[in-house]
């Protein structure tokens, strides 16, 4: 693979005696959309959080865009500007309006002036279908609206890579579609994305590659057709049966 955006080698992560990641190799090429699936507790979130060092790896290498994230000498704040992250529970800044949520980081980090940021925030909110919510407080939004603001907020830093940790799991079913729509658009525009999700439909339609994790290891990976229609690993088979039969 050329132009590796994410290059993880032999990543291990322990929480005390709990060995959560047991030697992960994980690569993502430019413009690629990778969907991470696996049973609860398999370490999907932990892997994702190691990619922007919200968790410190116990050992192994995490290289993003040529930057060694796992090296403590790397300026992590600088590296994070390039890695957007969307959380299951949105984590919108409760003390700020929707507009301010989007504008905060670019203005604070000197990426643009306040006026430019306002213009950009309005455009981004327009692309996620929330141009009328610029002045609203996060508390007044529905879950689906919050998640779309969170995506706009991450995009405001103009990142090369976007990480999504179960972005639709906390949403009412009728809200899920709106958020997935925004993510599909993003994928079409060529964003490099790593998505943890249980939305198998989304994975089949959008993913270039599906990675199945269990017990802190990558068990199987391949194109959506390969993994969903013809799984090789026993664990993958039982997992998919459970998920699809729900």
């Amino acid at each position: 693979m050329k132009n590796l955006k994410v290059d993880v080698t032999d990543l291990k992560k322990n929480f005390g005696d709990n060995h959560v990641l047991k030697g992960i190799d994980f690569k993502v090429a430019q413009n690629e959309v990778v969907v991470l699936i696996g049973p609860s507790g398999s370490g999907k979130s932990t892997l994702l959080r190691c990619l922007n060092r919200l968790e410190d790896p116990t050992s192994g290498k995490v290289i993003i865009d040529g930057n060694d994230i796992s090296d403590s000498k790397t300026n992590i704040d600088h590296a994070r500007e390039n890695i957007g992250m969307v959380f299951q529970h949105f984590n919108l800044f409760n003390n700020l309006t929707v507009g301010q949520n989007v504008e905060l980081a670019p203005v604070e980090l000197g990426k643009m002036s306040k006026e430019e940021a306002v213009k950009m925030a309005k455009e981004l909110l327009d692309t996620v279908g929330l141009d009328d919510k610029y002045e609203a407080m996060p508390q007044s939004l529905s879950g689906g609206q919050k998640q779309r603001v969170a995506i706009a907020r991450a995009l405001a830093m103009n990142p090369d890579i976007m990480l999504f940790d179960e972005p639709t799991s906390a949403l009412d079913p009728e809200m899920v579609g709106d958020v997935l729509e925004v993510m599909k658009d993003l994928a079409k525009k060529g964003m490099t994305m790593v998505v943890v999700t249980h939305e198998m439909g989304f994975a089949k339609e959008v993913a270039d590659r599906v990675v199945f994790m269990a017990d802190g290891k990558v068990m199987e990976e391949g194109s959506p057709e390969e993994v969903f229609d013809n799984p090789q690993n026993e664990r993958t088979k039982t997992f998919l049966e459970k998920v699809i039969n729900v």
């Binding site: 994070r80 992250m85 984590n91 800044f93 409760n94 604070e108 980090l109 969170a150």
Partner: protein
């Protein structure tokens, strides 16, 4: 350069009240202040605090460069030797003597009526230069203090309630006897209690001793003959039933081996006063028939007009106002200092560094754990006896409250920040915002809202805790109450008045805080 500094100090001194107001407003606006301005404000406030301490420490020697000033500790009430007259001026044989000697010898005596016990302790720790408080010269005291030539001969007598059936020492078997802490009367009572089979109970103030006998809790009390005789003559309501035991004389004391110059001046001044007849005049003024008659008449007059609440407030208006002002001053300055200290220590406690968090936890643990009273005495009496430099009572009081209230503030600042969902910090960091910026822009504004009720609560506690500083002799509201009661023995009414005043100040403070809270929440 130095001149400039002093000029600016003068200016700050003159404008200290507006300064408090300004910094209060800054503090409350904290949430929408930018990084640079906040740094500047913190720097400004710390400078002010530094200056404030500096002024209080170095103020006196500077102003009185020509005449040397000595700080003289004395009792709160020990008539006829020392007591406050109705204008709250300290008078009595000891007071007139020390003032006359100071005049004779050309020095200034700054009188600190902090109570016998506190005076003796402060003398040992070097907080004050001398003590004149009807102190009997004993061998035990000679170990720690140097005494002047005796200025008054006294003995211990026993006083009882007039209606009781106690007529002498023999009747005390199985009874309880009241004495005042650290006095010769207490020493005497303890030396004979086994022989006569009585128990002793100690109080810090003379009026508590007398009251205990009057209301029958104790059968008798022992005190200096001059004091008790004076009291009996002026209507104290006790009667003396024994002859004075010859236990010696009163002397002026300085710390052993120190302040030799002051001691020499005292002795030479006393000699001159005795030679020119002024000494006899002073003693006569307070113990002669005319003096005691006048005092009796005065207290009778006070009786007729002053047993109402209004009368008591009128009589003690200026003393009470001074006390209120001192309490408010203490409260405002310590709220500001404790808030700054508490916020800084609280923030230290949420930094990623383990060392910083440990330091914060330790500071909170120590200063929240120490009783305020112990901390006050430690800073006022303990530290100076180690370092040898004086700490003015006001500054010691501010430091005490800053450390103690600041520790509580730090704890809820930390708690308030921890109460903000951890996802908020993760989201901010994931955007590339550094820790400090995430803290200020996202976490603190949410945390402060959680903390506001605790801040208001802490302000009120600070106000109440200023009363504990009466122990180190600060003339705030509580100490003022004690002194007034020492004079007029109107315990119930005066404490009612003092309590009401506290409630009024607390109400004002609460309303003010609520108003600020509403403004912040908008």
């Amino acid at each position: 350069m130095l001149k400039k500094v002093f000029q600016s100090i003068k200016r700050y001194q003159n404008s200290d009240v507006p300064f408090y107001n300004r910094s209060m407003i800054y503090l409350l606006k904290l949430k929408d202040i930018g990084e640079d301005r906040m740094k500047k404000i913190i720097a400004l406030i710390s400078c002010m605090f530094g200056l404030f301490v500096f002024i209080n420490v170095y103020h006196e020697p500077q102003v009185n460069a020509a005449e040397k000033t000595y700080t003289i500790g004395t009792d709160v009430t020990f008539p006829p030797f020392v007591y406050a007259d109705s204008n709250n001026n300290y008078v009595g044989i000891d007071m007139d003597l020390i003032r006359a000697i100071a005049k004779e010898e050309g020095f200034k005596a700054e009188i600190k009526p902090i109570g016998f016990n506190a005076a003796v302790q402060s003398l040992s720790s070097g907080q004050i230069d001398g003590v004149i408080a009807g102190m009997t010269i004993t061998d035990e005291r000679r170990q720690k203090f140097d005494f002047s030539t005796p200025y008054y001969k006294s003995g211990i007598v026993m006083a009882v309630a007039p209606k009781g059936n106690i007529k002498g020492l023999k009747d005390l078997k199985g009874k309880r006897v009241a004495v005042k802490t650290g006095t010769a009367g207490a020493t005497y009572a303890n030396s004979i209690k086994d022989r006569y089979g009585f128990r002793t109970v100690t109080f810090d103030d003379s009026d508590n001793v007398y009251n205990d006998v009057k209301n029958g809790n104790s059968a008798a009390c022992f005190d200096d003959s001059a004091v008790l005789n004076y009291g009996v003559k002026t209507g104290l309501g006790l009667k003396v039933v024994t002859k004075p035991t010859d236990i010696g004389s009163y002397g002026f004391a300085v710390e052993k081996g120190k302040n030799k110059e002051l001691m020499a001046k005292f002795n030479s001044g006393l000699k001159k006063l005795k030679a020119n007849g002024q000494y006899n005049k002073i003693v006569e003024k307070y113990t002669g028939e005319s003096a005691t008659a006048a005092q009796k008449k005065a207290s009778a007059k006070a009786d007729s007009e002053g047993h109402t609440f209004i009368g008591l407030i009128k009589q003690n208006k200026s003393a009470i106002l001074d006390g209120i002002f001192e309490t408010i001053k203490l409260t405002v300055v310590s709220i500001i200092c404790a808030t700054i200290f508490g916020v800084l220590i609280g923030l230290l406690g949420v930094l990623p560094s383990k060392f910083a968090r440990g330091a914060s936890t330790t500071i909170i643990y120590i200063f929240r754990g120490l009783p305020l009273l112990v901390l006050a005495l430690f800073i006022y009496n303990g530290v100076p006896s180690l370092t040898g430099s004086k700490v003015p009572a006001f500054v010691a009081g501010i430091i005490t409250l800053t450390l103690n209230e600041g520790a509580y503030t730090a704890a809820f600042v930390k708690g308030g920040i921890d109460a903000v969902d951890s996802g908020q910090m993760e989201a901010a960091r994931s955007l590339g915002l550094p820790f400090g910026r995430s803290m200020r822009k996202v976490i603190l504004p949410q945390g402060i809202k959680i903390m506001i009720p605790s801040f208001i609560n802490q302000f009120i506690i600070t106000l109440k805790d200023t009363s504990i500083l009466s122990i180190i002799g600060i003339l705030e509201l509580t100490q003022t109450g004690k002194i007034i009661i020492a004079r007029n023995l109107e315990g119930f009414k005066i404490w009612t008045i003092i309590a009401l005043i506290y409630l009024i100040i607390i109400t004002v403070l609460t309303l003010l805080s609520k108003w600020v809270e509403r403004r912040i929440n908008d």
